[in-house]
Symmetry: C2
Subunit: 432 residues, 2 copies
């Protein structure tokens, strides 16, 4: 690939100094960033140059929890109590899923993430070979796991674990390193301690991290205490889960002792603020977690409980809701919220050396936001505008490993019309 | 004007039955809606017909609280304690405002509201003749008031009240009825009881409603009790404020007795959920207000504390945050949230017979949302998609009184490029 330079933009680096460069440029060669700084006087070193005309460049966003195939259920059921929603609506439809549903559901989600500026996402579902293939083809980056739920015969459990392990082994570092893998018991309330222990052992053997749902609802925490005499955090800790690199989704209902464990064991948290609100689960104590040094990243969860994958909404929500709850307008700054969706998200999935910030030597994963619209005027503070006024709809271009996958809002690697058509066709069949 | 028909769309009426019409159409002649229903077989009655190709038509949104000229301060100061933010940042810049700042600030806000589907907005500021002129030219609908703050000499106070009254008198029912007016003491904590009483008397004389900020912060409520021995609600009630048609913005910190007064006196509430969160003010007890029958509508407040005027964000926020707070996924349905931004908003500003729903005989104030994008797939439930997955960026066309003012995202009545340029130029001068 040629050396390319995008110049005359505002570069939001999300580096350690949180540098924002006016009249800036980003240069890259093949997969790697080779320049971040002021627009150079001499651009002749670059074969291709693009004038950003004041648009904003920032790292591609990192969405640290979701279930891409569930996009077929968007809008199928809302505003119901969690158990009714799951048992009467979501699970019966998911039981009818075939590999075709997984394929087009995953593609619909991947399309929407690219469209709104996400370049790395975590996915936990079934038929993950299909998701892996979709990631490979779309050119996005995925941190993938075949989620296993501890229901069924011992034989079924062992077959699921075997499938999860094979997926983790076969796909780790696939797609030019754009795919990494994890192992994932669904949750402490759906997997026995013995099953979780087996999964932990397997993660040691394969040298992959762990991912799970944890402490999403008060009911779940109460039940865990009743069943095992410990909070989900203490329970998982006692099983050795946190002696492995681990990412937990939700972490809404936490005791102070829980937060200390998460901090001490370097557990990554995926804060799914909108999904937690919409399902009536509650609001995670993010301020406390940050104060204890926990790595907090942002996740959308699936569109069934969100109902979109535009991570800009999570960024604005995290920067406003915690202020309102704490009645403190200084809680979680715009800069912090943006870091949660970029460099902290990358760190949460052990990719902090590859993506999540714009620095020489890292992979060229970045997005361009079109600023010639009211939401970005007056030109006081680009980070504030992105966080408080921006939307994923403002993303114009997306690059992953130096390859452009969205160009002026047009997809370069995937067939949008076909995906919308097939996703609709298959989901209508499910619902009928 | 000719008779026009938009057909083959999904019509979300927001009428009393909350009717949603698949394969629907809306017909209008001059200013008025003449048809809402299934796409008719014979469209020859209409001189102009437009195929919606499955897009969604809904009533234009109603934003019931804001300060349009403050858009020049977007991103100038964020993440500060309210008093620091006001006293060190916002007020010093506002003190430098000239009529030019008001003009271009108001235009920037009006542009953004049209762009994101708002057709009626409430505005409280100074130099309101300029705002009235901008509303007239843009073709949007405004419920306007010259806000008066009770600081300064008696002479100054009387001159402000005189100005507010003249504005209310001169502009009421102006711009072909698109402008109505109110009188507005800034708040019970910035206006003496005597001054508020004078304003109430004037509103009787001019037969216009009242608008004010009320119970936004806990500090303000505590101070009101200390100064006057009553909550702001009880205090205003004792002055006779609620014996007039009244719209109060914020209403965050309310006692049960306060809520009973608001219900009994038919007070309209403008719930400014995002601004209240961002300024760390807290979260209004919307569930309780609705249970008592209070008319709750949605407002953005100014972009200085939001930081945009996309009311779709308020709609999603109100439908998710109150679920999370109450830990009840059935709190405030998608339908309810949408009504707050349409028909309930119209009712809150005494325009429920003219706008806010799509019904024959009402003014043709409606918007078209482009659904041929992932956010609206699969086609399970258009109201859910609008509320939980949609964005003001998806609005393609806007009509007010049957006149199209946004056409395929292009403004037909205002000069976008000039407004962005002038707003930026003037605000940079302010900040320097």
């Amino acid at each position: 690939m040629a050396r390319k330079l995008l110049y005359n933009g505002t570069i939001i680096t999300c580096n350690a100094e949180n540098e924002v460069i006016d009249s800036g440029a980003i240069g890259f060669e093949d997969e790697k960033i080779v320049y971040v700084g002021k627009t150079p006087d001499d651009v002749s070193l670059y074969e291709e140059t693009i004038d950003l005309k004041g648009d904003i460049v920032l790292p591609g966003l990192v969405n640290t929890h979701g279930h891409t195939p569930m996009s077929l259920l968007r809008g199928y059921a809302d505003d119901l109590h969690l158990q009714t929603w799951l048992e009467d609506k979501i699970w019966p439809l998911e039981a009818k899923y075939t590999p075709e549903h997984v394929k087009w559901g995953a593609n619909l989600s991947i399309l929407e993430m690219i469209r709104t500026g996400t370049t790395t996402f975590v996915d936990m579902y079934d038929y993950m070979d299909i998701v892996g293939k979709a990631v490979d083809e779309a050119g996005i980056r995925g941190v993938l796991c075949r989620g296993v739920i501890g229901f069924g015969s011992e034989e079924l459990l062992q077959s699921k674990l075997k499938e999860a392990a094979e997926f983790a082994k076969n796909w780790n570092n696939a797609a030019n390193g754009r795919i990494t893998t994890m192992l994932s018991p669904h949750s402490p309330y759906t997997c026995s301690p013995e099953y979780i222990s087996q999964i932990i052992d397997k993660s040691v053997e394969l040298n992959v991290p762990l991912h799970t749902h944890m402490s999403e609802t008060k009911y779940e925490v109460d039940k865990n205490i009743e069943d095992f005499g410990a909070t989900p955090v203490a329970h998982l800790d006692s099983l050795g889960f946190f002696d492995r690199p681990a990412l937990v989704a939700h972490a809404v209902h936490l005791s102070d002792a829980d937060i200390e464990i998460l901090a001490r064991k370097n557990v990554s948290v995926s804060h799914n603020i909108i999904s937690n609100l919409k399902l009536g689960s509650g609001i995670a104590p993010v301020g406390k977690m940050l104060a204890h040094g926990v790595t907090v990243s942002l996740g959308t969860d699936s569109v069934a409980s969100n109902n979109n994958l535009d991570l800009f909404e999570e960024i604005k929500s995290v920067a406003t809701i915690h202020k309102g709850i704490a009645q403190d307008a200084t809680a979680i700054s715009a800069e912090q919220a943006l870091r949660m969706a970029t460099i902290d998200g990358a760190a949460a999935v052990w990719l902090g050396d590859k993506t999540g910030s714009l620095e020489v030597g890292k992979d060229a994963d970045f997005i361009v936001v079109e600023t010639n619209q009211s939401f970005y005027y007056p030109r006081h503070n680009p980070v504030s505008h992105l966080v408080y006024s921006g939307s994923g709809r403002d993303v114009r271009d997306v690059y992953v490993q130096g390859k452009q996958i969205l160009d002026n809002r047009q997809f370069k690697t995937i067939d949008e019309e076909k995906i919308l058509f097939e996703a609709n066709r298959l989901s209508r069949m499910l619902a009928e």
